[in-house]
Amino acid sequence: MQNTKIGNPKTPAAQSSGTTMSDMDRITDILSTEKYLTDGFNIAVREASHDSLHQAIMTCLTETHQCARDIYNVMFQQGMYTLEVAQQPKLDQTYQQFNGYLSQIPYSGRVQ
């Protein structure tokens, strides 16, 4: 039986602190804010009229995504996230299923 849970032990910052805001509460709120901002930039970048504006917002979008990723990694290091590993049979089955569908795509077999 494989180990299905992956995560670091919780650091003191990852402990809940009753009714007051903890460091974990704060970083969780910041991560939510970053997610919200990427949604906003994504809509705005799609609607930008000229190229230089499009590029500027695109930079905001990618940097904010990277920032959210860095925050997530810090949270994972501090034991705030636990990952659940998929069952190997289910993984294999899904691979088989979609590998079978590959023949339905007209481009299949043509490597670019």
Partner: protein, 93 residues
């Protein structure tokens, strides 16, 4: 300010190859929206970073706030567009 035009249309007007550097009304609405979000986000990061005890969390929240400040300034620069001169050289529609 160089206008990107080429060729002749059937109405003898130059054709646009790319949209000119004008801030449209729609652009401006989005810019104001985004700057509002970034302003609040930067304030929030600054506030939280001061309260944090864990140095790693403190540092990443502080970095995040500085990034929001940079993005705010970038978008603000785009509001300094001279729409009057950009539209002066355009053919009347």
């Amino acid at each position: 300010m160089q206008q990107q035009m080429t060729g002749q249309s059937q109405s003898q007007q130059p054709m646009f190859t790319t949209p000119p550097q004008v801030i449209t009304g729609k652009d401006l609405n989005y810019l104001a929206d985004q700057m509002n979000w970034l302003l609040v986000a930067a304030k929030k990061c600054s506030h939280y970073a001061k309260e944090c005890t864990d140095p790693q969390i403190k540092q990443i929240i502080d970095q995040t706030g500085q990034m929001h400040q940079r993005h705010y300034n970038t978008l603000l620069t785009h509001c300094q567009n001279n729409n009057s001169s950009a539209t002066a050289s355009l053919p009347a529609q």
